[in-house]
């Protein structure tokens, strides 16, 4: 039995939680202001800034983010699953080096990856093309999809695979009919986390974003560096709402701590 936290600890804890929540709560409050400037509504609340989002160029940016994130998460999963099977189920020369290579994007700051991608796209003539951006996102999120695929493979009972194999199923059949259905929930969690990671990515994307590939975080960043008004607060509030919804789903299905343990930062 652990000892309970004393009053001093609880005061510290309350202050810490207030620190964590303060900026998010403030953004949500400002989003409901009826005024044309940043202010916390006291007597009157208004949805005018949420209405203003429709018809702004944030809506196309949102959809670009959704397409890019969906494509990047799917592609990352598609290449990670075979790689995870190779490294988890086989012993072969160069295995450790390969795993290290697959996780190496974690070591490179996003700003460096952004510069590299910009140079690469200019050299091969991919500028203003969503393909280059999507592949850049695949690089960033692949370590996470790989880790979750590895975790899913490590968590399953291998006896069922052996049983299927001993009953005459081919490798491909074992994978398709036994392994894949078992690891699918884990993969879905990995896809969702990769989607969020790609959807939120700014630092790399800002280097290569062209008018046709300006994602929502990039558009918001450009907007904020010019001026801050209640409309970006309204968009932010909507994104916070979306994140809370996702958290509720992920917590119910997977337990969020486990998923977030591998997520990256700024």
């Amino acid at each position: 039995m652990t000892r309970r936290n004393g009053p001093l600890a609880l005061v510290f804890h309350a202050a810490f939680i207030a620190f964590i929540l303060a900026p998010l709560v403030v953004v949500c409050l400002v989003a409901f202001t009826p005024e044309a400037y940043l202010s916390i509504p006291t007597t009157r609340w208004s949805l005018r800034w949420f209405k203003a989002i429709w018809g702004s160029d944030f809506i196309p940016a949102f959809w670009i983010s959704v397409y890019v994130a969906a494509a990047a998460a799917s592609l990352a999963l598609l290449v990670s699953v075979p790689a995870a099977i190779a490294t988890a189920r086989f012993q072969f020369p160069g295995r450790e080096a390969l795993v290290a290579y697959f996780l190496s994007p974690l070591m490179v700051p996003h700003v460096v990856l952004g510069v590299a991608l910009l140079r690469f796209m200019a050299e091969v003539g991919l500028t203003a093309n969503a393909f280059g951006l999507i592949m850049g996102h695949v690089v960033i999120i692949m370590p996470f999809t790989l880790r979750l695929a590895l975790a899913a493979l490590a968590g399953m009972d291998r006896h069922v695979e052996w049983a299927a194999g001993s009953l005459g199923a081919s490798d491909l059949t074992v994978f398709r009919r036994v392994t894949l259905p078992i690891i699918l929930p884990g993969l879905a969690g990995g896809w969702l986390l990769a989607f969020i990671q790609s959807f939120d990515e700014l630092t790399m994307t800002v280097f290569v974003a062209s008018p046709g590939t300006t994602t929502l975080p990039v558009r918001m960043f450009q907007y904020i560096t010019d001026n801050i008004d209640p409309m970006v607060a309204a968009i932010s509030a909507a994104l916070i709402g979306l994140a809370i919804l996702l958290m509720a789903v992920m917590e119910r299905v997977y337990g969020l701590e486990r998923l977030l343990a591998g997520k990256g930062g700024d």
């Binding site: 039995m1 652990t2 936290n5 609880l10 510290f12 804890h13 810490f16 939680i17 964590i20 929540l21 303060a22 900026p23 998010l24 403030v26 953004v27 940043l38 592609l75 598609l78 290449v79 990670s80 075979p82 790689a83 490294t87 190496s104 490179v108 700051p109 700003v111 460096v112 990856l113 510069v115 590299a116 910009l118 690469f120 592949m135 690089v139 692949m142 790989l146 939120d200 700014l202 630092t203 800002v206 280097f207 929502l216 975080p217 918001m220 960043f221 904020i224 560096t225 801050i228 932010s236 994104l239 916070i240 994140a243 958290m247 969020l256 701590e257 977030l260 343990a261 930062g265 700024d266």
Partner: protein, 285 residues
């Protein structure tokens, strides 16, 4: 069985190909680019020269930017450890429903874009923001202070963005702490402070060290938060690279900046690991 021997390589091929084409090759291109020269009149010239490195390593302007970036990263790491470690211990001592609820509250913001979280700080820290209203209202400050475009503002906002990694890292290592050891210490007459210092802290050390490294590297290469809160007045390395690439169009110089950043960070990480392994060898056994 030759076919099966090649199978793992075949399975790894797509991922290897993607990483090589879209990470390794572009990084090599940036390295080459950093040796080229640039003038407004001629654009990028593919000759080999160390001029960009001479400029980045020799110019006071870049010394200030690199110095500011690593000072910021160090300050953020220090503050994150100072508040994140006690919080992780408090979370560790909580009873089941509360523990997961508050972990969720602390980790949840990681799902929200850094731009959104930083926007919150821009609203809070502005001249007419809540923090100023509160401090002047309470009589702590006579006039509203300037937090935006200051190191203090950048540090506060970046600590907010990165402290969840510290809490998570420390909490994970505290989970391996057997509560019976703490109880034994107390029952043998150790004070609460002694138990914290002699039992809890050593157990948390791997988490603190790993968390510090994560926070430091992310802070040193952070872009969005310093750019929004610090602006152009307090440029950090990532922002300087952004300006060279997208405003001045001097790509070779921008490439040299990120190469120096990458080398500096790898040196720091490797050096840190060396020191940590030597000093805390017993912790990791």
């Amino acid at each position: 069985m030759t076919e099966r021997r090649h199978l793992p390589y075949g399975l790894s091929a797509p991922a290897t190909l993607v990483l090589t084409a879209f990470m390794a090759a572009p990084l090599v291109m940036v390295l080459l680019l950093s040796f080229h020269t640039f003038t407004m009149a001629t654009g990028i010239r593919p000759e080999v020269s160390l001029a960009n490195y001479v400029e980045v390593l020799g110019d006071g302007y870049f010394h200030t930017i690199f110095g500011r970036t690593f000072l910021l990263a160090a300050a953020v790491t220090g503050v994150a450890a100072l508040i994140g470690v006690p919080e992780a211990y408090i979370i560790h001592r909580m009873r089941p429903p509360w523990r997961s609820i508050f972990l969720l509250v602390i980790l949840g913001p990681l799902l929200v874009s850094v731009v959104v979280r930083t926007l919150g700080w821009a609203v809070l820290l502005g001249r007419n923001g809540i923090v100023n209203a509160g401090l002047t209202g309470l009589g702590i400050l006579e006039r509203p202070a300037e937090f935006m475009f200051t190191m203090t503002g950048m540090t506060v906002a970046l600590v907010h963005v990165l402290v969840p990694f510290m809490v998570l890292s420390v909490w994970t290592s505290l989970r391996r702490l057997d509560p019976a050891v703490e109880a034994a210490g107390l029952s043998l007459g150790a004070s609460q402070a002694t138990v914290l210092r002699r039992i809890v802290l050593p157990q948390a050390m791997p988490g603190i060290l790993a968390g510090s490294l994560i926070v430091f590297t992310l802070a040193a290469s952070a872009f969005a938060t310093p750019a929004i809160v610090g602006g152009r007045r307090l440029k950090v390395v990532a922002m300087a690279a952004y300006d060279e690439f997208l405003n001045s169009q001097n790509w070779p110089l921008g490439a040299a900046i990120v190469v120096v950043l990458l080398v500096a960070m790898v040196t720091i990480v490797v050096g840190y690991n060396r020191i940590v392994e030597r000093r805390y060898r017993q912790v990791f056994q």
